[in-house]
């Protein structure tokens, strides 16, 4: 446990000046402020309609959710998986890392956990910024009635589902980035996966849940329609199972990799 925490701390230290780390903060900041700006500039037209608060929140958070969930989140996950491994590929530091007096599994798990944490931070910021910027808009624009409903519960739930649904992709991409030191191969696989995921999820193919890349999109399409109350849906289960399997598989790869 101590080894895991130390390794995690080192991962933060190593990457605190890199894009991978800052993207977790900049991405939500950028997207949320763009959407807030959009709503602000269109306030005259929008406030005439007098949407009910729920619908308003739905439209507001939906804009962030749909770009984020469908495209940006999967790409961000791919990028994170790439970055934590690339930092060792690029500097040829794998062998030194595994020559430290630390349990090999802890070193590997810390890397994975670091990526998971950053994705979590990124999505939490989305929740927080959506909420805060909505309330800020309410203060700035008379016509908006964002204050009438508190969306935090629902928003957290959707983003949490999005988070869990992205773990399958993370584990898969983590392995790809572990094996290949270049950007193109994991990125290429990821790209094809994402496209396939979006198509199968939006077309409602019944086996879409078997493709990890379709999970986030499935979460979003499910949220729009039926049963939003159910938390552990098929794609969440499936994502977690994929995550666990590929996480363990990745350890065996890393244990052999260190030999070279």
């Amino acid at each position: 446990m101590h080894a895991l925490l130390i390794s995690l701390k080192s991962e933060f230290y190593k990457s605190r000046k890199t894009l991978a780390f800052w993207a977790a903060i900049l991405l939500p900041l950028l997207i949320c402020s763009l959407i807030a700006f959009g709503f602000f500039s269109q306030s005259a037209r929008m406030s005439k309609v007098h949407y009910p608060a729920e619908a308003l929140w739905m439209m507001y958070s939906g804009s962030a959710l749909s770009v984020m969930g469908m495209l940006i989140l999967p790409f961000y996950v791919i990028f994170m998986a790439f970055s934590v491994n690339n930092i060792e590929h690029k500097n040829d530091t794998w062998k030194t890392l595994f020559a430290q007096p630390l349990n090999k599994f802890s070193i590997y798990a810390a890397k994975y956990l670091y990526a998971v944490l950053l994705i979590f931070i990124c999505l939490s910021l989305f929740v927080l910024l959506t909420y805060l910027s909505g309330n800020l808009l309410h203060l700035l624009v008379k016509g908006y009635n964002f204050n009438e409903v508190n969306p935090l519960g629902l928003l957290s739930k959707v983003y949490l589902k999005l988070f869990l649904s992205s773990l399958g992709i993370l584990s898969l991409q983590f392995i790809a980035s572990l094996i290949w030191s270049d950007f193109l191969k994991p990125m290429g696989i990821g790209f094809i996966g994402i496209i396939a995921g979006i198509i199968t999820a939006t077309k409602g193919w019944e086996y879409a849940y078997l493709i990890p890349y379709s999970h986030p999109a499935m979460v979003l399409t499910a949220t729009k329609g039926k049963e939003p109350q159910v938390f552990f849906t098929q794609e969440i289960y499936s994502s977690l199972v994929y995550a666990a399997i590929f996480f363990i598989l990745g350890y065996f790869i890393v244990a052999r990799k260190s030999m070279k």
Partner: protein
């Protein structure tokens, strides 16, 4: 016999079909500076990686500090520091940050980083990105990373690679100091015997994975048989004359004859004999084959 810090017993290692380490039995005593010598591709780096458990070794073939490595991996690694091939440095971090990162991993006080930078003469470049360091500066940083935990055993794979003459001397002196004053054990690999012979107490020579020689530096010296060289007028006749008097002539060069050295008296006798028979002996001296040639001979014959 004193305590062995590194011991391998009939160690083998294969890369695919290629046997890279062949029945290697290293014995490195505590407090020694062990020069691990061999030409390119001899298996030095591979052996060092095995000692770090980066490459798997078979059970009961590798012992560090008297303990089998596979079952004592973390405990053994805690007590050693290593520099393998190129120093492993994060290019986007400064030299100091590289050290601090290692401090985090080893649970060492961060203040140690400054101390290490001073030790290897990088204080001024502490906040410069390590990726922008020169080759020698990177090497120094690599050495400081190996020394950070104040380990009992140092495994240094060509540590002076890329260093300027000054740097080589500094690192050499540092190694001597670490071994003599602080009782550290150092295994240092190199292609060049001349680089090692001034500091090493022990030498192991490896070629194609096989250990061809292992012993103290004096034992290595003893291997090289001394000869006497005589500069004399009328070379050809002189050598015929010596042969007819029952001496064994090794080689005849343009100006000198070379014979096996046996004793001081015998050298004197040869001199007298030559002079008495009308030859002019301009000089006569004893030579030892230098170690570099010896090293080349050892590695060539196998």
């Amino acid at each position: 016999m004193s305590e062995l810090v590194i011991e391998t017993r009939g160690l083998n290692h294969y890369f695919g079909q290629q046997k890279v380490v062949d029945n290697l039995s290293l014995k490195v005593q505590k407090g020694s500076i062990y020069g691990f010598l061999g030409p390119n591709g001899a298996g030095k780096t591979t052996s060092i990686k095995i000692l770090l458990n980066l490459l798997k070794s078979q059970k009961d073939t590798v012992y560090l500090f008297g303990k089998e490595i596979n079952s004592n991996r973390i405990k053994s690694l805690k007590r050693l520091g290593a520099l393998v091939e190129q120093p492993a440095i994060y290019a986007h971090l400064s030299g100091k940050e590289n050290l601090i990162n290692r401090c985090i991993l080893l649970s060492i006080n961060k203040r140690k980083a400054d101390e290490m930078l001073a030790l290897v003469g990088l204080t001024e470049a502490a906040d410069k990105k390590a990726g922008k360091y020169s080759l020698g500066m990177k090497q120094r940083l690599g050495i400081s990373l190996a020394l950070l935990s104040d380990p009992e055993l140092l495994l240094l794979d060509e540590p002076t690679n890329g260093l300027d003459p000054n740097g080589i001397i500094e690192i050499r002196n540092l190694m001597i100091e670490l071994a003599s004053k602080h009782g550290k054990t150092i295994l240092v690999s190199s292609h060049l015997l001349s680089e090692i012979e001034r500091i090493a107490t022990h030498v192991g020579i490896i070629n194609k994975g096989k250990l061809l020689f292992q012993g103290t530096i004096t034992e290595l010296h003893d291997l090289s048989k001394p000869t006497i060289e005589i500069e004399v007028s009328d070379i050809d006749r002189a050598s015929e004359f010596l042969k007819s008097n029952g001496f064994e002539v090794n080689t005849i060069e343009e100006k000198k004859i070379s014979l096996m050295y046996k004793s001081a008296e015998e050298s004197g006798k040869i001199n007298t004999l030559l002079v008495q028979n009308g030859f002019t002996v301009s000089s006569i001296y004893q030579v030892r084959k230098d170690l570099e040639h010896l090293f080349l001979d050892i590695t060539k014959n196998n």
